[in-house]
């Protein structure tokens, strides 16, 4: 099960939120924005739940591809 921590920690890094929100809020001019901050803003600042869900699923597919890629690499190594 050595691949699981690597994959989950990659997902964790993609979900970076609190650090960025408290330090820069995603600014200046979106230079430090992360996917989660964008989704959060769309949903809870602009109240556009449909768009936020679309963003969330795009984000999910991206992570899914990375996770599969990592999983394959790990498998080839062992």
């Amino acid at each position: 099960m050595s691949e699981r921590p690597v994959i989950t920690s990659t997902i964790g890094s993609f979900g970076l939120f609190a650090e960025v929100t408290t330090l820069t809020g995603g600014g200046p001019a979106n230079a430090t924005i992360t996917p989660l901050i964008r989704i959060f803003g769309t949903a809870f600042s602009n109240y556009n739940y449909g768009l936020a869900s679309a963003e969330a699923y795009t984000f999910f597919i991206l992570i899914f591809v990375v996770a599969i890629f990592q999983f394959r690499m790990n498998r080839e190594e062992s």
């Binding site: 099960m1 699981r4 994959i7 989950t8 997902i11 993609f14 979900g15 939120f17 609190a18 929100t21 408290t22 996917p35 989660l36 989704i39 959060f40 949903a43 809870f44 739940y49 936020a52 869900s53 969330a56 699923y57 984000f59 999910f60 992570i63 899914f64 996770a67």
Partner: protein, 277 residues
């Protein structure tokens, strides 16, 4: 000759490790130091690790003006409730997957593992809409219930409970225990070391949760510690650094106490899980 080389390598290695350790611990020490500084001294030059004029003003402020007791009580309630509810349901789920045969078990378990790949952000909006339908906005329920049956916990307990021999459960059945009685009286005591370590992880997760309270808690008297700390960052440039650091220090105390109390079980539980996993 060889010894000399070894000493040299060791000296380099240790000084490097000590350097990295100091670098790691510096933010923590700096937080402690800033919490005793006056606002004017926070960015004083040269930077001083030991405050020029140490003060308890920041601590007094957070307890008198920032409603610290209430915030701590809220956070403690949410964290303890979330931990207990999660432990109960994940252990129950793990027991089911470990000791019962039912159609679709493999597929269901694979599906459960696959949900671990889904980042929380994807669930954020639908969960919010669901909680709003329940009328749970600005209550503590959304911080306790949705995470109650999380995939990692069920996976963890399935591995743990699989190592318990079936004879033990059969002995319980012969003595007339119900299936839930077996879970409550036989399984739970055996898996208590695992519960301690996973419970600590759950507790820390709930205690440090920022995104959840940010979405669900609106009124200041329901704030948890992470929101309260963040509220001291001024958007327009005035940030109460000393007060913020004092609050951070106070927020660490319960975690440190709990960790010190459960440290031994915590380490044992993690390594036990590692061997079985």
């Amino acid at each position: 000759m060889i010894n000399f080389k070894k000493i040299l390598v060791n000296t380099l290695l240790y000084s490097m490790l000590i350097g990295i350790s100091l670098f790691m611990i510096l933010p923590f020490v700096w937080m402690l130091s800033t919490s005793f500084k006056l606002q004017a001294d926070v960015f004083g030059y040269p930077p001083a690790l030991i405050p020029k004029s140490p003060t308890l003003k920041n601590y007094i402020y957070i307890f008198q003006n920032a409603n610290m007791i209430r915030v701590l009580a809220n956070t403690l309630f949410v964290s303890i409730a979330a931990t207990l509810v999660s432990l109960f349901f994940t252990a129950l789920g793990g027991y089911g997957f470990a000791k019962f045969e039912f159609p679709g078990k493999k597929a269901l378990f694979a599906f459960l593992l696959a949900t671990m790949v889904i980042p929380g952000a994807v669930m954020m909006v639908p969960t919010f809409v669901l909680m709003r339908t329940f009328g749970w906005i600005d209550t503590f329920w959304p911080l306790i219930i949705p995470g109650a049956a999380n995939a990692f916990g069920i996976f963890f307990f399935r591995q743990y409970i699989s190592s318990i021999s079936d004879e033990l459960l059969d002995a319980g059945r012969i003595d007339g225990a119900s299936e839930f009685g077996i879970f409550w009286r036989i399984i739970l005591p055996i898996i208590s070391p695992g519960m301690t370590s996973l419970g600590l992880l759950f507790f820390m997760g709930a205690w440090n949760n920022y995104l959840g309270p940010l979405i669900y808690l609106k009124s200041p008297e329901k704030w948890t510690i992470t929101l309260a700390i963040n509220s001291l960052i001024g958007g327009a440039g005035l940030t109460y650094w000393g007060e913020q650091m004092a609050m951070s220090v106070v927020s660490l105390i319960p975690l440190v106490i709990i960790f010190l109390v459960f440290q031994r079980q915590f380490v044992e539980g993690i390594t036990a899980g590692a061997v079985k996993g």
